[in-house]
Amino acid sequence: MKALVAIKRVVDYNIQVRVKADGSNVDIDGVKMGVNPFDENAIEEAIRLKEKGIVTEIVAVTIGAAVNQDILRHALAMGADRATLVETTDSLQPLAVAKVLKAVVEREQPSLILLGKQAIDDDAGQTGQMLAALLKLPQATYASQITIADNQATVVREIDGGTQTLSVTLPALITADLRLNDPRYVKLPNLMMARKKPIETIALDSLTLALTNSVQQLKVAAPPERPAGIMVKDVNELLSKLRTHEGIIA
C-alpha cells in the first residue's frame, strides 16, 4: 500500500524565536530550519511500515517555497521513495493546507496518510483532523503505536490520563505523537542516494483551489517576563519563603 506523509519546514526546536521590534511578526531571518519534529516521527513510522512489508511506497509532501526541498531531501534520505513540493510563497493556514493536501491525496490515492500531531511554530494541531474531515476519512490522532492488518489500523492514542485504542478502516489518516518512535539519523550515503530520488514540483496555482486565510495576525508580542526569582540556600529558607505566600503552604 502507498503511504503519504505530509511534512512542514519550521524553525529548529532548540531555537527561542524573537519578536520583531515593531511587533509585526516573529524574526526568523537566518534562523536554522528543519523538519517539524512530529512530522519526523510520521516519516519514521512510514519507513518502519515499509520495512515490515506493509507499505510499498512512501510519498513525502510539503507546501511552501522552493527552499522546502531541503526537508523533502531529508525525508528521502530517511527512506521516503519520492517527494512532492506544492510550491507557493504564500503562508497558508491549517484549513488551506488541508485543502491543498486533499488535492494531493486525490492524485496519489494513498491507503495511509500520516502527519505530525502539530507544528511547533503555529502550535495549531489542526491540519490532520481537517484533512481527514475534508476527505471523509476516519482519523486517529496522537498515535503512540500503530499496527496494520486486514485493512485496519489499530492505533494506540495518547489521551489525557492514559491511552485509548482505536481501530480505523483504511484508507485512514493518522497523526504522530512524539512517543510513536525515535526517528533515525540520516547517514551520508543515504543523503547521496536521496539526491537521485525524484522531487516533483507542483505550482499551487495549477491546483486551482479557492483558498482564503480567514485569520489575520494583528500583532505579536513577547510574553510578560516573570520577575527575577531569588536563590535560597537551603530547605528551611525555601519553606519560610513559601510560607510567606499565604495559602500555598500551611
Binding site: P94, D123, Q126, Q129, L178, M231
Partner: protein, 309 residues
C-alpha cells in the same frame, strides 16, 4: 445568535474544564448552550444545567456515545452549528481531536488554545511553544475555538437551565473504539491541582522518581508531573508530561525537581503562580523562570523538604 460549548466528560462526571469554558463563553454576551453527547446523558445534563451562565443543555444520546469517536461527534455538532456563531470547548486531548474536524466541515479556520478573548472575533494565543503571544482576528462566520481552561475561572453551580434532546445521527462506520487504559491515581488531576510536583531526568530511575517525588506530592496534596526526559526514560507515565506536547498547568505552586527547563517544558508550566526549582546545575534554564531556586542534590533536599512539611 448563540454560543455552543462541547462538553467533555467521562460518562458520569462533567470534566471540570467545562465550567471554565462556560466562563469564557460569557464574553460573547449571547445565550450559551452546552452539548452533552453520551450513552447515559441524564446525570451529565443535570450537571451542565446547574452551571451559571448556561441557557440550555442539548442532549445527544446513543449507545455508541459510551465511547464516542471524533467522526460521530462531528456528525452531531456540524448540523447544530448553523444555529451558532461560536463553537467552543476547553483545550484538551478530547476537544483538539474533534473541533478541527468540525471547523473543516464548516469551512472555517479554528483558533487553538486561546489564552485571552479580546473581543468577539479577536484572540490572544501562544505560538512557538508559548514564546510569542499572537493577537489574531478571525473573519469566519462561525468562530470555532478551544480555550486554555486555566485562564478562565470556573462557572459556579446553582442554576437550572432547560434540557432538550436533539436528534442523534448513527455512529459512522470506519472508526471503532477498542479500549482505554487510564493511569489510576488518588491524586488530584494534573490540570486542576493547586500544587504540582514535577520530576525530570535527574531522578535517574522510576524507583527514585516514585521514592523522591511521591512522598513530597503526598504531603502537599499535589499532582505529579514529569518532564519529557523523565517520561521517555520510563520514570513516569506519558500522561504526566507537562509541556508543549503534554499538558499545560498553571497551579498556585509548581515544584520542578531535577528538570533543566527546556523551552518545551517551560511552555507547560510558566504561568504557574509560584515556581520552585531544585537542581544541581546552577546554569539550568529552569532557574530563569523560578521564583525560588535551590541549587542542591535533589536526593538530599527533597526528602528534607518532605520531612519538614
Amino acid at each position: 445568535m448563540r454560543t455552543l460549548i462541547i462538553a467533555e466528560h467521562d460518562g458520569q462526571h462533567l470534566n471540570e474544564q467545562v465550567a471554565r469554558a462556560v466562563t469564557a463563553a460569557q464574553q460573547w454576551q449571547q445565550p450559551v448552550d452546552v452539548l452533552i453527547a453520551a450513552a447515559q446523558p441524564d446525570g451529565l445534563a443535570a450537571q451542565a444545567a446547574a452551571l451559571q451562565g448556561v441557557s440550555s443543555v442539548l442532549v445527544a444520546s446513543d449507545a455508541a456515545l459510551q465511547h464516542p469517536t471524533a467522526e460521530h461527534l462531528t456528525d452531531i455538532i456540524v448540523p447544530l452549528a448553523a444555529n451558532y456563531t461560536v463553537v467552543l470547548a476547553a483545550h484538551s486531548a478530547f476537544s483538539k481531536n474533534v473541533l478541527p474536524r468540525v471547523a473543516a466541515l464548516l469551512d472555517v479556520n479554528m483558533l487553538s488554545d486561546v489564552l485571552e478573548i479580546v473581543n468577539t472575533n479577536t484572540y490572544v494565543r501562544g505560538i512557538y511553544a508559548g514564546n510569542v503571544l499572537a493577537t489574531v482576528q478571525s473573519s469566519d462566520a462561525i468562530q470555532v475555538l478551544t480555550v486554555r481552561g486555566s485562564k478562565f475561572a470556573a462557572a459556579a453551580a446553582g442554576a437550572t437551565a432547560e434540557v432538550k434532546s436533539i436528534n442523534t445521527p448513527a455512529a459512522p462506520q470506519g472508526s471503532r473504539w477498542v479500549s482505554e487504559a487510564f493511569n489510576k491515581s488518588e491524586r488530584p488531576a494534573l490540570t486542576a491541582a493547586k500544587v504540582v510536583v514535577s520530576g525530570g531526568r535527574a531522578l535517574g530511575s522510576a524507583d527514585a522518581f516514585a521514592q523522591v517525588i511521591a512522598p513530597l506530592a503526598d504531603k502537599l496534596h499535589a499532582a505529579i508531573g514529569a518532564s519529557r526526559a523523565a517520561v521517555d526514560a520510563g520514570y513516569a507515565p506519558n500522561d504526566l508530561q507537562v509541556g508543549q506536547t503534554g499538558v499545560v498547568v498553571a497551579p498556585e505552586l509548581y515544584i520542578a525537581v531535577g528538570i533543566s527547563g527546556a523551552i518545551q517544558h517551560a511552555y507547560g508550566m510558566k504561568d504557574s503562580k509560584v515556581v520552585v526549582a531544585i537542581n544541581q546545575d546552577p546554569e539550568a534554564q529552569i532557574f530563569k523562570i523560578a521564583d525560588y531556586g535551590l541549587v542542591a542534590d535533589l536526593f538530599e533536599v527533597v526528602p528534607q523538604l518532605t520531612a519538614a512539611l
